[in-house]
């Protein structure tokens, strides 16, 4: 295995790519428990795909990745969760727009748990009956979102922001999508995306590196998955404009919920994706974090029932800056305030230095927890296709003038606003 060291934060990661293409990352830290996570690079925003050589693209219903995640725990003659629980381990799985992860945390019977994890993700068992049963369960999961004021505006904003990208669909899909999923859809997506070459295995905690990689290799020596598969995701051309600039939804709510997406076409100003992302996040922190004037304003202005939550996501060729806030009234004024704040290109060097210090601190905190270490590795492989072992140096070397140059001139003209108004719907 190859040893990689994250500079300045006392973190070593051992890595190897197996013959079948599986990428393995092992990290020993002084904890009693071990966290292991198997991640498929397949999430809720991929709906059209084919294997290299196939003539046609396959189109699957939204929510398929999440449905698949649920179904991977159903087996013909054993229950993976029972095995984990029998070993005293906790286990779960989750699906995002980009990935699906299966994980366990436990202190005992590590190899039995690891064997269980690998079997769980490599042994599909879908029947018409067990697919039907799952529809009732997942529909209830979806119904909770349909009652959530946050998800109502968030989900509508996705649809109003993207015309062609499948990112516009929610990870769970709609109730209709869930109802339409078949056993065949599940096998089709499984066979495409759950080949080891499209997966990442990350393990962190009290492990013996040599014994662990030996065990993993031994497991895969008994299972032939064929040659690594080349997957082609259908690339859709996405216009830089949003689909719909403004929409009001009515619900018998006590408060008003606002969700705003700024759709920003990427310009390759820095030629460094990591730094570009960091600078975009610093931009939001400069204007909307507790270090901005906003913290006192939202604390004292009684119209604000929450702070202004700001986040950045990279979707295809776009940065999406999203804002969510709960207010009593005056939604237009609040939306204008967010817009003005974002477009104000005056930046304070002292605040920049404080945010830089806070980022370096967060980096140290993120290595305290076995699960967070696995998350960090998975995210870096997904986004950069490598471990960012020089993160500390990059964060330490952030440059105020370069930051200003990167941010200034950013196109904030494409914006979508969704408001949940507190009125009775018809």
């Amino acid at each position: 295995m190859k040893k990689l060291t994250y500079e300045k934060i006392d973190l070593d990661v051992y890595t190897e790519t197996l013959d079948n293409g599986l990428r393995v990352f092992l990290c020993k830290i002084p904890r009693n428990e071990i966290h292991a996570r198997m991640t498929a690079l397949f999430g809720g925003s991929t709906l059209k795909f084919k294997l290299k050589g196939d003539a046609e693209f396959t189109k699957v219903p939204a929510g398929i990745a999440h449905f698949l995640e649920h179904k991977m725990f159903d087996k013909k003659d054993y229950d993976p969760l029972k095995i984990y629980e029998g070993n005293g381990a906790s286990a779960n799985a989750f699906t995002t727009e980009f990935i699906t992860s299966y994980h366990f945390t436990g202190a005992n019977n590590f190899f039995d748990n690891l064997n269980n994890l690998l079997k769980c993700v490599h042994e599909p068992y879908f029947t018409d009956e067990n697919v039907l049963k799952e529809k009732g369960i997942i529909s209830q999961e979806k119904k909770e979102d349909l009652d959530s004021v946050y998800y109502i505006v968030h989900d509508k904003a996705l649809i109003n922001t993207f015309k062609n990208l499948d990112y516009k669909n929610t990870v769970l899909g709609s109730l209709e999508d869930i109802a339409s999923i078949t056993k065949e859809d599940l096998y089709n997506t499984y066979n495409t995306f759950y080949h080891p070459s499209n997966m990442i295995l990350t393990i962190s905690g009290d492990i013996n590196i040599d014994e662990t990689i030996k065990f993993i290799k031994n497991y895969y020596s008994k299972h032939d998955f064929g040659a690594p598969k080349e997957i082609e995701i259908k690339e859709e051309q996405e216009p830089k404009e949003v689909v719909k600039e403004s929409e009001i939804i009515y619900k018998d709510n006590q408060t008003k919920e606002i969700y705003i997406n700024y759709k920003i076409k990427k310009e390759n100003k820095l030629n460094d994706r990591y730094l570009s992302r960091v600078y975009m996040n610093i931009y939001l922190a400069m204007k909307f974090s507790g270090l901005s004037e906003l913290s006192d304003m939202t604390a004292k202005d009684t119209n604000f029932l929450s702070g202004i939550n700001a986040r950045m996501e990279e979707v295809g060729d776009f940065y999406i800056l999203s804002f969510n806030v709960t207010v009593k009234d005056n939604t237009d004024k609040v939306i204008k305030f967010i817009d003005d704040t974002l477009k104000d290109m005056n930046f304070d060097r002292h605040r920049f230095d404080l945010i830089k210090k806070a980022n370096l601190n967060s980096l140290i905190l993120s290595t305290e927890n076995t699960g967070e270490i696995c998350s960090m590795i998975v995210n870096q492989i997904r986004i950069y296709d490598k471990l960012m072992t020089d993160m500390h140096f990059k964060l330490f070397s952030l440059d105020f003038d370069l930051f200003k140059k990167f941010i200034q001139g950013i196109d904030l003209s494409n914006r979508c606003v969704v408001i949940l108004e507190s009125k009775k719907s018809d």
């Binding site: 029972k82 209830q140 004292k300 601190n361």
Partner: protein
Amino acid sequence: MKYKKFDLGNYNLYTIVTDRFKTIDLKINIRIEKKKEYDKYIPMLWRMLVSTSSKYGSLKEINEAAVDIYDPYYGIRFISSGKQDVLSLFATFVNEKYTEKGMNEKNIKFLADFIFNPKIINNGFDNEMFEAKKEKLIDYYLSTKDYPREYADSRFHEEMTVFDYKEYSLDEIIELTRSLTSTELYDFYKKVINEGKLDIFISGNIDPLKMKEIFEKNIKFAGKYHEDPVHVFNQTVYNKEPNIVIDNSSNVQSNLIVGCKTLDMTDYERKYVSLLYSWILGGGMNSLLNQTVREKNSLCYYIYTNRVNLLSILKIYAGINGEDFDKTYRLIKEEMKNVENGNFSNDLLESVKNTYYNSLIGIEDNQNDLLNSFISEVYGVSDNMDVRREMMEKVTMEDIMNFAKKTHIDTVYLLKGDRS
């Protein structure tokens, strides 16, 4: 792991030395006996303490000062612990070994000031911030209906009598909050300081004597020394015919809460048997309720038990379709009966025990868990970790069946959704 207790006159300082973390965890806890009339002050007090400062003029300045000392993560809450309410400041900060010398003391001083040195003007809290926080809190109460799970829980607690008094309804608490003044809140703060029992807990790669010196130098606590208070509250009565309350809403999903009381709970049951009962009934994915209500009948996505052992109550939460209420409630009662009759496998009992043993090992992996575990020992509501494992091994299927026989459904609340 080395534990040390320092008697600092009117309070105790507890240190835990461990070299497994790059961070230090701190908890400053003040316990006061739970009283109905305190409920109007509690939500306002922690909100004021965490957002004002006698030293800094604004929240922005507080936040800047925090980043300047390497950005500690912190918060203040009142935590319910049986018959006690605990005003708790909790914080995690990077050990100065990874930042700069002197930062540990600076962090402790910065954090302790929130509790011991609040911003007071004219014998009351900062009135401008107080009025803003009060209005926001009232709006928060008024908007609870927008958050179905939260609203259902709030309504459930209006219906189920847990203490020897009936808790305030949402309408009552709104009116009481409306009439509260910053001077009254400051009087309550002084009461908490004067009558509360203060304990400070700190863990990490630290020198206990140095910590003692830092706290002695930086904390001026005006309260008196108090004996350890009692946390346990016993249930003596329950509704023999469960009180079933159904409210209609315009939500899609229906939120069900089944509230149970256990009578005559022994100390052994409270610490051990109740946990296994709760996990067997509605803990993990293999629990009886998950297997029956979710997996076999596809009635829900979530169903779980929530045990409040210091109050001898247990709640079962589920998100279902409104029309499935009768069926779900029947299945819940059947599964409770199954535990009572011992109709659960020994494998399930062993696996929940294994989960418990694993959680004991896992406590040392997380400083917050480590501190909480130690605090529960100091508060007398848990045994030490060695005893815990030993005692849990002794729990039998009969113990769980007997416990189940003493556990009764008292109140059932359904927030029924009718939007398709």
